[in-house]
Every structure is written in C-alpha cells, then in structure tokens.
C-alpha cells in the first residue's frame, strides 16, 4: 500500500509532480561538500545542539547495552555465571536450529499479513473519523480503548472471543452463514486469528493518521472539488500523497513491531496460567528468544538470536527507506 505519484489530472489540486528521486528521503542529505577541515563542524554544529539529548542518551544508555549484547552473543552466558567467550559458536548453532526457522517463518508471515491490513484499516478509520465532525472525539477514544487495556486481559479475551465452539466471532460469522474455524486451536488458523486480534489495537495508528489528515490544506480539497474530482480520486490524488510521511512512518514502525510481536501471543499461548498448550503456529521469534533467555537461561544464544533479528529488520527497513524516496512526498522539499 503505497502512495502513487499524484497524476496531473487534478491540476492545481495536486502538489508539484516530483522529480524522480527528488524527494528528500530520510537519509538523502546532500550537503554542500567542502574540502576545508572544520567545515563539517560548522555545518553540523547547530544540529548537534538539538541532537545532543539523543546523543548523550545513546552513549550512556543505549550504546553499551547494544554493544554488550553483541559481545554476549559470542559467549556462553546464563546471567548467573560470568560470560565465557566461545567465538561464533552461537551463530553456528543457529544454522542447525529448526525452531529458529519455524519462529522466523511464523514472524515473517505474521508481519506480511498484519502490516498491510493494519495500514488499510487504520487509514479507513482515520478517514471516517475525519468526516465524523463532533463525534470524532468520542470515537477516537473508542478506537484507542483496546490499546489501553492490559495485554494479559487482551490475551485472555482473544481465547474467549475467538473460541471455535462458542466464541462471539464465530457466532457473528454464523449469522452470515459462515462456519467459523477453530481460531485458537487449529494451527492453520492461529496466526490469522492473532492478526485480526492485533487489528484491534490500531487505535494508535488511527490517531497518527488523523493528526496528519488534519494538516492537509483545505485549499487542495477546494481545488480538487472545482476540478470535479470525486471522493476516491481526491483521496488518491490529494489525501494519500499529503499524508504519505505519516503512512510511511506507520509502515516502518509496524514492520519493526511486527517482527518483534510478543505480548498477546505470549499471553494467549505461552504465558503461565491456565494453559500449557503452546501452539507452534504462534511461536514468534521474540517468544522463542525470550524462552532461550529466561526459560533455558541461554542469554548468550538469545543475544545471537537478537542480532540475527536485528539484521533482518535492518534489511527490511532499509528496503522500505529506499522505496520511500520515490513514493513519499514531503512538503518541506518544495522549493
């Protein structure tokens, strides 16, 4: 789901057509390069003033845990005894770990199903809210509700609502003559069930998109209307390009989050409590990592797992960043 380049059909209503590659991507800085030493400093100094909180925080609180976990991935470490350096053994062991492949496959599949649905659903909800006028405050709260509910409750509710025998989801499907599957127990249906469940927490993305929608200049809509563009054409040619930075954000962040999905699946299928029936279909990567770290006390191996995931997410995000340069429209780049 990406924003297509706005066609010129809507005339004045559309932002200027983009030069290929002309839109400023997230990492496409093209500063004036100067050979003189010290010029970089002059150029970057004002920025560093604003970046300093993050740089300090990174050096003190983030860099060391990251580097340390990278070091731990080269050790045998159970948290209780000092780490023992074993070189790349953990990484070698990963190659023959069939559970890892299963978990990675589950996670990739989940993310692939979830992110597009998530974006489409949150966009539809945001567009509806944008038209709702007065009641939008109330509905915004309603859509954000599930996000505020503690995950343990969400996991339990999932098992209840999606129960294959008498869960309300299948009851509703039954009204339409659909015989619902056993969402919570049939391996083939567990992941789709969790995807639908996760859609229940789209509230956050809806709010981000709504904030973006509120900032689309009315003028553009006016001219689109004068051009006789209908609802869909206006949405496609005006709305989507204008909120593409927000859409891009949602896609990137949800992809990162999707690969790290944990809470609800863990509560529903792996958490302590009333169930010891763990379902392979719900074994997501971070759940497996968590088991290795805190179940089997293999913190070294878990760190290696974490870095593999890090690389995977990094590659996926990099692809998204590259693609975004062509598709995301930033108002700030208009000259």
């Amino acid at each position: 789901m990406t924003a297509a380049a706005p066609s010129a059909a809507a005339g004045a209503a559309t932002p200027a057509a983009r030069r290929p590659g002309g839109a400023e991507g997230p990492d496409a800085s093209r500063p004036v390069r100067s050979r003189r030493p010290g010029s970089w400093w002059r150029e970057a100094r004002p920025a560093l003033l604003f970046l300093s909180p993050w740089i300090i925080g990174f050096l003190v609180f983030t860099a060391w845990p990251m580097i340390y976990s990278a070091y731990l991935s080269l050790t045998d470490y159970d948290v209780i005894n000092s780490p023992e350096f074993i070189g790349v053994e953990n990484y070698v062991a990963m190659a023959s770990d069939d559970k890892l492949l299963l978990a990675l496959g589950n996670t990739a599949l989940f993310t692939l199903m979830q992110v597009p649905l998530y974006v489409v659903v949150s966009l539809i909800l945001a567009l509806l809210l944008d038209r709702a006028g007065r009641a939008s405050g109330f509905f915004r709260t309603v859509f954000f509700l599930p996000k505020m509910t503690p995950p343990v409750a969400v996991g339990v509710l999932f098992l209840l609502l999606f129960n294959g025998q008498n869960g309300i989801v299948n009851t509703v499907l039954g009204w339409f003559g659909i015989d619902g599957p056993a969402w919570t127990t049939d391996p083939a249906w567990v992941k789709p069930g969790l995807v639908f469940m996760s859609l229940w927490t789209v509230g956050a993305s809806v709010i981000i998109l709504l904030a973006a929608l509120r900032n689309v200049p009315e003028m553009l809509y006016e001219s689109a209307r004068l051009d006789g563009a209908g609802f869909w054409r206006t949405a496609w040619n005006v709305t989507v390009p204008m909120i593409s930075p927000a859409l891009f954000f949602i896609i990137v962040v949800n992809t990162i989050a999707g690969f790290q999905t944990f809470d609800e699946a863990y509560t529903a299928f792996f958490g302590s409590g009333n169930t010891t029936y763990s379902n392979d279909a719900a074994l997501f990567y971070v759940i497996y990592l968590f088991q290795q770290a805190f179940g089997f006390l293999n913190m070294g191996y878990a760190s290696a797992l974490a870095w593999l995931l890090f690389v995977v997410i990094m590659i996926v995000t990099a692809i998204q960043l590259v693609v975004s340069r062509r598709l995301v429209y930033y108002e700030g780049d208009r000259k």
Partner: protein
C-alpha cells in the same frame, strides 16, 4: 510546563511587538507565515461536502465502534460479577456485586500506587515529548554530512529486542544507584525515544521550509525558530506523542517489575501483578480479581485520554493561525 498543553505563545504576534527574546518581528516573517497559512491549517470541519456522507460515516463508525468497545464492555461487566459468573458472557451481570472492587481496594494501597504512577507518567510523558521534539527538529531541519547514518542509528535502536538489552540496562541503573527508585521508569525519556523522534521528524518534514528560513533571515536564532515557530505548528503531533507515552508508561509492567522492590514504590500495574499472582496461586485462578484489576488500571487512562485528546487535537485544528 509541557509542549502541546496549556498556553502556547501566539504564533504571530502583531507586527512590531517584541517576542520573548526581545527581538522585534518585522513584516517579513509575518508575510512568510501568512503566505504559508492556507497550506498549513484549515478550519475544523469545513470538509463536509454532504450530509449523506456524514451520516454514512456515522453509521460505519458506530458499527466499528461496537466491535472495538465490546471487549472492554465485557471486561467491565465481568468485574461486577461473582467468581462463578465471570465467563458467562452476559453483558448485564446476573448477580451484580461490588465485592471485587471492595476486595482489591482493601488488599492494596491503591491510592499510593496511583500516586506513584501519576508521578512517573507525568515526568515520562513531558520529558519525552520535549526531548524527542528537539532531536526530531535536529534531524528534520538541518543538513549535514552523516545525518542519514545518524538517523539510521536512531531507527536501529528500535530493532534490537528488549529482552537482551534489559539486563545491561539494569546494570547501568544499578551502577547509578537508582534501582529501587522510580527514576529508571522515566529518566531514560530525558534523551528522547526513537519512536517519537521518527514520528515528529516525519511531521516536521511535511512543513514548508520557507517559513523557517524567513524567520532566520529576520534574525531569529536557532532556538527561537524551533520554539516559537516549529513547536506551535507541531502541536497535533506533540499531543499524539504525549498521549502515546502516557498510555505506554501507564501500562508498563516490565520495568516496574525489575526495578521496584518495596511495595510502597509500586506503580499500579506492578501492584496489581502482585495481587493477581496471589489470587492465581496454585493454578486457582480468580479471574474476577484479574478482570477487576484490569478495569482499575484502564479506566483512569480512558478518562484522561478522552478529556485530553478532545482538548488537544481538536484545539489544534482550529487554533493557531486563524486567530
């Protein structure tokens, strides 16, 4: 004081008035802003092209709203049921009882936990909003070599699962002597957070640069441009940041679990975990206590959210430049 809440300086004082820094605005910047105006702001609801469209939107929202609200209504109604009826799936309890609330209230120093949670939440949300806005501005407005790489590093910090950085982070706070206090639950936010930096940066990138360049030409300093022009314009996204962080901190169990020991320092989620564990003892789950605990955690948030988002987000659309 916090960004996005309460009184904000009017963006465009009358020409000639001195701003906070004692500099006098000239017409130049005001013009630049006036020119940018229509592109930035529109009235709250001038987009209604048809009554029919609005009615349809309402119907769709109501149907979807039921889907979203049902599980929570289920939760609330279950919290008023005795143990034997929690899972009977009635929305109106057959036997209506306040006992669960009374029990939770008696077992737990809830008022104290609420106070701790409010302290942490307020500190966490305000600090993260201000610091993330600063950093996001640094990434959005300035151009320097290595900016992309540095921003990539910001994103990278989101990509490593927390399970493996948790213990090293704990060791840092331990070395600083802060384990057992509320500090580790919020102080990390002084340095901004990748998610919000990214979010706010996206927003800033969507603003026309001429606005800020014009202000610079008029002699506003870097901080002035950020504080008096960029921040007021970013109110919607700062409001979103504030709300998200309030939600995240309010429901944060993990950090409270590893950093807090003494029940006087517990936050609400941490305290309720202790309570729920006690009632789940030996597999004997008292779900009525668990759902009640969930409701108690959630309701204050809902109230705050409802009031705040109405004020903030709606206020944003209609405030600002139109005067």
């Amino acid at each position: 004081m916090s960004a996005g809440v309460g009184v904000t300086p009017p963006l465009v004082p009358p020409a000639g008035a001195a701003d906070a820094k004692g500099r006098v605005r000239t017409a130049g910047s005001a013009d630049a802003i006036a020119e940018a105006e229509p592109r930035l702001v529109r009235g709250p609801s001038r987009r209604r092209r048809s009554r029919v469209g609005q009615v349809l939107a309402w119907i769709a929202l109501t149907v979807l709203g039921i889907v979203f609200v049902y599980p929570f209504v289920w939760l609330v109604s279950a919290s008023f049921k005795p143990r034997g009826e929690v899972f009977d799936n009635r929305l109106i309890p057959e036997t209506f009882t306040f006992d669960n609330y009374v029990q939770v209230w008696q077992e737990a120093p809830l008022a104290l936990w609420l106070l701790n949670t409010v302290i942490v939440t307020v500190l966490a949300a305000t600090t993260v909003t201000i610091s993330s806005a600063m950093v996001a501005w640094g990434f959005a407005y300035f151009r320097f070599r290595g900016r992309g790489a540095l921003f990539g590093l910001v994103l990278a910090t989101m990509m490593l699962p927390g399970a493996v950085t948790m213990i090293p982070t704990f060791l840092i706070w331990n070395a600083l002597g802060q384990v057992g206090t509320l500090t580790p639950l919020w102080a990390g936010n002084l340095f901004g957070s990748a998610f919000y930096i990214f979010l706010i940066r996206q927003f800033f990138l969507g603003l026309p640069r001429d606005l800020f360049d014009a202000a610079r030409v008029d002699g506003a300093n870097q901080w002035g441009v950020f504080w008096h022009i960029a921040v007021p314009l970013a109110k919607p996204v700062l409001a979103v940041t504030l709300i998200f962080e309030v939600q995240a901190v309010w429901t944060d169990l993990m950090r409270a679990l590893i950093y807090l020991r003494d029940s006087d320092t517990f936050t609400v989620p941490r305290g309720l975990k202790a309570l729920v564990d006690a009632y789940g003892f030996g597999g004997e789950w008292h779900w009525e206590i668990i759902v009640t605990a969930s409701v108690i955690t959630t309701v204050p948030m809902i109230i705050v959210f409802f009031l705040a988002q109405r004020k903030i987000i709606d206020g944003v659309a209609s405030s600002g430049l139109k005067g």
